[in-house]
Symmetry: C2
Subunit: 331 residues, 2 copies
């Protein structure tokens, strides 16, 4: 079984990885700087399978880890994958999960350079990803945002949260097109890390970036805290994914609540100098997605979200609404 | 809680780690080559706590991962630690485990550069360690052993297996000195990665190395397979830790079975050119442990172990005896 898993990794060899599976450690030749991130997902805590297919569990585990590299503007390099599985899971099931990891690795030219398989009471996928940049300064941190910078997001928000609601209450999607509903499910179970957009934004002069895992309001707060600045968001400017308004209405929650606090969209939030926005927009468009200006960085602290009614609110209000709108077992 | 865990990691900052906890990924400046290894341990599969103290679980999790770097001749750099813990575990318990990780990190100047804490049905510690060397060629792989090389081990063997037996049946240690018994327990619960010895052996010209996690017989087989050579071991030459013979006799198992197949000693098995042995022995002695010649590399394949009676046996015989001598839940 280990051999079959290792064979999957070895297929994706790259020039910089000199030793992958089969020794005490993977050997990788020097690059200018590395960005390393770890993510662990646990069955019953972060996902249930079903309704997740095992292939989707593997895909999402690696995609979510790669999203952190995207938010640094790093080019993905290697992944190390530790799988835990109960005795009841068949080899075929474990391989299906590993194949999901392998599919996302192949899509982003990531080498699965090491890993292990262990017995565990539930499925566990612990992923380490290593990305690279020409120098440490080329990597975009959360702390670099400056007053006067423009705040923008890639893609459209709210889709993952709407997809989660619809997967639990399929009747909510009754009023929308089947293709749109499938797209929302896909946002939840098969997120696409914005690797190319992250590289484009880093090249265009991004001063700070973060990927949207907690939700726009909460993740903006992480940037605000790290950079010791205020972040102002115009809620009317936030791009909303197709179908989100309909699902929100059917569920009796606010569309903006899903977009600002729903989480798991894995789009990028970026702070850019104002004169870099057009270059950035063009570069991101070349990767097939939009870059939308949604606010600005100011002196001060905290996150302020101006509503359609002119009222200004704070992320904690969204957090509370999110908690009451979602089932308690949501990750 | 995350903040308190992160503060523990940040204390150990090194010059090469530019961003540790608190961003999307850790940023590390280039080194000649990196060696990366992952290890995951799961409560109820790899350990039980008690009798393991949580501090010991943390210590062993990192030590075992660092042992893989020792076996590459890599200098330890960063560690990334993903903890899973059930809701019943208190913050104090999780911190005790993290402190165990931190103690071993500090002892080897390892920077805990990232990590995460997650809910899980049992305790889980997934560790990623990154070590460095001036170039990829400076890292010692399993595959480099050549016919004519001398085979040696660091330290003494069998202690971890004897300690495991005695922890399950304390009466077995009735006939030995209390300090010796404590030493055997320590070999089992608090292994010391042979980092300095690994660096010394790499500098002295080691052609192949592996750390002894499965047991000498099985790990020799990994080198034999990787290098496509035969490995011949004189069982009389194998250095046995103090107290092992007494525990083995009391348990009714062979002393050599514990030394050759017991596993978890985390000493290093090395293949060296014959003319490098004296230099290597002196260099390893300077790290406080012995290097003992136990055999040789020959053309062919497989592992041959010559017994005191002149009979030659194979690792599979030891594996079978090991399985029958140990409780079924042993890792």
């Amino acid at each position: 079984m280990r051999e079959r898993l290792a064979a999957g990794g070895a297929r994706a060899h790259s020039g910089e990885v000199i030793v992958a599976s089969g020794d005490d450690a993977a050997v990788v030749a020097a690059r200018g700087a590395t960005a390393t991130s770890v993510d662990m997902i646990v069955e019953g805590v972060h996902f249930e399978a079903p309704p997740f297919e095992l292939r989707e569990v593997g895909r999402k585990a690696l995609a979510v880890a790669l999203s952190d590299l995207a938010a640094m503007g790093a080019a993905p390099g290697e992944a190390y994958v530790q799988l835990g599985a109960p005795a009841e899971r068949t080899d075929a099931e474990v391989l299906e999960l590993a194949e999901g990891v392998g599919e996302v690795a192949a899509a982003h030219s990531v080498v699965v350079a090491g890993g292990d398989l262990s017995r565990a009471p539930v499925l566990i996928v612990a992923v380490t990803v290593v990305g690279t940049a020409p120098s440490p300064d080329a990597l975009v941190r959360r702390s670099g945002a400056l007053p006067g910078d423009v705040v923008a997001v890639t893609g459209e928000l709210g889709g993952a949260a709407a997809g989660l609601l619809a997967s639990r209450r399929p009747e909510l999607a009754g009023g929308i097109d089947a293709a749109v509903a499938a797209g929302l499910r896909s946002r939840q179970v098969d997120p696409r890390p914005r690797i190319e957009a992250g590289l484009a934004l880093a090249s265009a002069g991004a001063r700070a970036m973060i990927d949207l895992s907690d939700g726009l309001a909460g993740d903006a707060r992480h940037v605000s805290d790290a950079a010791r600045v205020a972040i102002e968001i115009d809620s009317e400017a936030v791009p909303i994914a197709a179908g989100v308004a309909e699902i929100a209405a059917a569920a009796g929650v606010g569309t903006l609540d899903l977009a600002l606090a729903g989480g798991e969209d894995y789009e990028l939030l970026v702070a850019l100098p104002a004169d870099a926005v057009e270059t950035a927009r063009t570069a991101v468009a070349e990767t097939g997605i939009a870059l939308t200006v949604i606010g600005r960085v100011a002196a001060g602290d905290g996150v302020r979200i101006s509503g359609t009614d002119g009222a200004v609110t704070t992320p904690s209000a969204f957090d509370q609404r999110r908690r009451s709108a979602e089932p308690a077992d949501s990750a």
